[in-house]
């Protein structure tokens, strides 16, 4: 019983650590420049983290299975141009959104199928589809952006509801809530964690690890699709070149949030906080007036530091639990 309590405490501390880091960043930037704490700026921080948050939540599923998805930025671009074209050709916004989500899911499933059926490492597969999907996005529009996205769609997805808070934030929160439930309260969720911890043992427990994996990549695709839809609404144009490098930001958010690239460890809340931390930092550096080049340096250092703190924390956690480990 004593160990159980201890474990819960540490778990609280783990997410508390990221929240604390966010607070620390906020306080430091506020001291340097009080403009940082204004409501307008805070909303802008949250707004900035929606895209990365949506992609990051998706990528968390791939990471939990001990895989990775590098193709999310390209999936994101395909959704942007495809849904853009649908809207421009006069198709109902809600239907367009549903088709977009479905397409994202399908592109993710394709990744999962190649990984499982052809037995190729996820890194290599999604490195391939990253280029493949990007090519599709360009060919689809002939390289041109999709212009004049209808206003009603833009208002529906990214318009303000109350004060200056845009709808897209609620899309992020809803997606986070649903995926959290999926991970914690369904068989699929437990299988995802089990698969990431020990794929062979999970398979030998009579579980279809293939189905689980393929579906996990499908959810990665949904995350990228939702991000694409939000981006399209926000900008009002659909660029086939959009989203380059987004996969790395998403992986960074998951890693900062405590996801282990070795698989089996990570959470939706963690990734969400990781994305928030990154954008709090980014906006802060801009507000304070740090040069762009130095922003890269600061972001890089924070990623490494955050993951290192996570490592120290889990080491302490193990130490507190270890009773018979080395005996």
């Amino acid at each position: 019983m004593y160990k159980k309590k201890k474990k819960k405490n540490i778990k609280i501390i783990r997410e508390f650590g990221i929240i604390l880091a966010i607070f620390l960043i906020v306080i430091i930037f506020t001291i340097i420049n009080p403009i940082y704490i204004t409501p307008y700026n805070i909303i802008s921080i949250i707004e900035q983290s929606t895209i990365n948050g949506l992609i990051g939540i998706g990528v968390t599923f791939a990471i939990l299975t001990a895989g990775i998805d590098l193709s999310v930025g390209s999936t994101f671009a395909i959704i942007i141009v495809f849904v853009g074209k649908l809207l421009v050709s006069g198709i109902n916004p809600i239907l367009s959104i549903i088709i977009g989500i479905g397409l994202g899911f399908a592109l993710g499933i394709v990744n999962g199928l190649i990984i499982c059926k052809m037995n190729i490492q996820p890194f290599v597969v999604t490195l391939g589809t990253m280029s493949l999907y990007r090519g599709i996005a360009y060919i689809f529009t002939g390289g041109w952006p999709v212009l004049d996205i209808p206003k009603n769609f833009r208002m529906m997805v990214d318009g303000d509801i109350l004060y200056n808070i845009p709808v897209s934030i609620f899309i992020l929160l809803l997606f986070a809530f649903l995926t959290h439930i999926l991970l914690r309260y369904t068989r699929f969720g437990i299988y995802v964690y089990a698969l990431g911890g020990n794929e062979e043992a999970t398979r030998l427990s009579g579980i279809s690890t293939e189905k689980t994996k393929i579906l996990a990549y499908g959810i990665v695709g949904i995350g990228a699709a939702l991000a694409g839809i939000v981006m399209l609404a926000r900008l009002g144009t659909g660029e086939p070149s959009a989203g380059q490098g987004y996969e790395l930001n998403a992986i960074a958010a998951a890693a900062i949030g405590g996801a282990s690239l070795a698989g089996g460890k990570g959470s939706i809340i963690g990734t969400l906080l990781g994305a928030a931390l990154l954008s709090a930092l980014k906006v802060g550096l801009i507000v304070v007036g740090v040069e762009t080049f130095w922003q890269y340096i600061a972001t890089g250092l924070i990623i490494i530091l955050a993951v290192y703190i996570e490592y120290i924390q889990s080491k302490l956690y193990l130490k507190s639990l270890t009773v018979s480990k080395m005996r």
């Binding site: 160990k3 369904t186 911890g197 020990n198 043992a201 427990s205 270890t322 018979s324 005996r327």
Partner: protein
């Protein structure tokens, strides 16, 4: 000279958060002796070795090497002092050659480059001494587990160790290999090397050791000359209770005539061919064979873990196609694999999740998983199988080997399977837990479960089986119905076919 102490442990204590792994342990290891360290899992044997080899640097007490106080900062430091540990076979790098593994970290050099000629000639010399049939330029991955274990021993010899410790070295060796190992140990002893031999196999203590120290629950129990002690005395020291007989059936054998599993002409090329047998309700069917007999491959194929080439499987008289473990489970089969850590348990899951993994659908209501029911299920089996600690939220990876085995068994019992394949049910498990596993096997057979027990431990096969299938090089060479099984007879079939 023989009586000088080589290593002296003085008041060694090691505290892990939450438990005392070693409690004020003091004893001597004499120069040039084979000193057996005996104890159940969790007795503190490995912890003591880890301290000696510089793996743990924080502990209380002192270690004296040849009269000098030492405090190794890391394993490398200990090797410099001539104290070498023979690791498990999994510590080898599979992609490297045997020779490269033997000298790893201490490669002979020619200028800035590795001197491969010297590397292989040095390694081959050691392998020859160990009477190994494989060569130092073989790729390690292609070796059998027994051969890998010999490679780890070669690695220790390479370092010209003054003190060599072996941690359960025979758990993956068989027959002739064990004999070779024992001859090597004697040879090393004659040359003045001190050997620390960690084991829980009592016979080995009497075969090889000069003196034996028993640890129990982190406490020092006794040190004796092997010639002065009896088996019963050592067991009493180890477990604190008298274990006179363990691998035996206490109740009458009474399996039914009803055939639950009928395997006909099963083949997995190139491993085994035309394997046919029947398993009855309430029966424990022992499958025995030497390493390379492919006994594990047979049960894996039936369960659906590996692809089959041909053959039919009938379950309760109905022909079934089982192409995946998922279908194995659907047909009420469960597999408890030999390699528990790699194939049995999921390291990041708690006991509740590991035990519930194969039957999560039982805890789903309206699409949502009820964690509380999963926990209750876990608690039920923790009680039934006497798991310790009885905490559903405990990570399974942190349990002892015997308790991990019980978790894997509980997983299949939760899923209510009728046919259980036990691959090396007591491998790497201490005597106390072995005894419990044997009693569980008997209980399960009595409840009407049908069990295939694959094992390389003869006493276990003889004591527990209702019938015995003997395999040799991928064929069933003999099926013995229960009479009185004789060890010699079984070994003869297994070796000669």
């Amino acid at each position: 000279m023989r009586n000088r102490s080589m290593i002296k442990f003085k008041n060694i204590s090691k505290i892990f958060p939450g438990a005392k792994a070693l409690d004020n342990v003091s004893f001597d290891i004499k120069k040039g002796e084979v000193h057996a360290l005996l104890g159940e899992n969790g007795a503190g044997k490995s912890t003591l070795l880890n301290i000696l080899h510089g793996m743990y640097t924080e502990y209380e007490g002192d270690i004296f090497l040849d009269g000098q106080k030492v405090n190794f900062k890391n394993p490398h430091n200990a090797i410099e002092y001539g104290i070498v540990k023979v690791h498990q076979e999994i510590s080898l790098v599979p992609e490297l050659t045997v020779g490269q593994n033997i000298v790893l970290g201490y490669e002979p050099r020619k200028g800035q480059f590795i001197d491969f000629d010297k590397l292989y000639s040095q390694s081959d010399k050691i392998l020859k001494r160990l009477r190994c049939k494989f060569r130092s330029n073989d790729i390690t991955r292609d070796l059998s587990i027994g051969e890998m274990q010999m490679t780890t021993i070669a690695k220790a010899l390479f370092h010209n160790a003054r003190v060599i410790s072996l941690d359960e070295p025979t758990s993956s060796l068989f027959g002739p290999e064990v004999n070779t190992l024992f001859e090597i140990i004697k040879e090393l002893k004659n040359k003045g090397t001190t050997i620390i031999y960690v084991t829980h196999k009592l016979e080995e203590v009497f075969q090889i050791a000069d003196r034996v120290t028993v640890l129990r629950d982190g406490k020092y129990m006794s040190t004796n000359n092997v010639s002065n002690v009896t088996k019963e005395y050592l067991i009493k020291n180890m477990v604190g209770r008298d274990v006179s007989a363990f691998a035996v059936r206490n109740r009458p054998r009474r399996f039914e005539d009803k055939v639950v599993l009928d395997v006909r002409n099963l083949s997995v090329i190139p491993y085994f061919k035309n394997v046919s047998f029947k398993l009855r309700r309430g029966e424990i069917l022992g499958v025995f064979g030497l390493i390379g007999s492919k006994r594990t491959d047979v049960v894996r194929a039936i369960f659906g873990a590996d692809k089959k080439n041909s053959g039919d499987i009938f379950i309760n008289g109905i022909k079934k196609e089982i192409f995946s473990p998922e279908e194995g489970l659907k047909n009420s089969i469960g597999l408890i694999p030999e390699d528990r850590k790699a194939q049995g348990i999921v390291k990041n899951l708690t006991n509740a999740d590991n035990i519930g993994l194969s039957c999560l659908e039982k805890f789903i209501h309206f699409g949502f998983l009820n964690h509380n029911e999963k926990k209750i299920n876990c608690e039920h089996f923790m009680e039934k199988l006497n798991l310790t600690p009885k905490d559903p939220m405990y990570l399974t990876i942190q349990l002892s080997g015997g308790n991990q085995q019980k978790v894997v068994l509980a997983k299949w019992l939760s899923a209510k399977v009728d046919i259980i394949f036990f691959d090396e049910p007591t491998k790497g498990i201490d005597i106390g837990a072995k005894q419990e596993i044997y009693r569980l096997l008997e209980d399960l057979a009595e409840e009407g479960k049908s069990i295939i027990m694959v094992s390389s431990e003869l006493p276990e096969i003889i004591g527990m089986s209702d019938r015995i299938i003997i395999m040799n090089k991928g064929r069933i060479v003999k099926t013995l119905n229960y009479t009185k099984f004789s060890e010699e007879q079984i070994l003869q079939f297994a070796m000669e076919g």
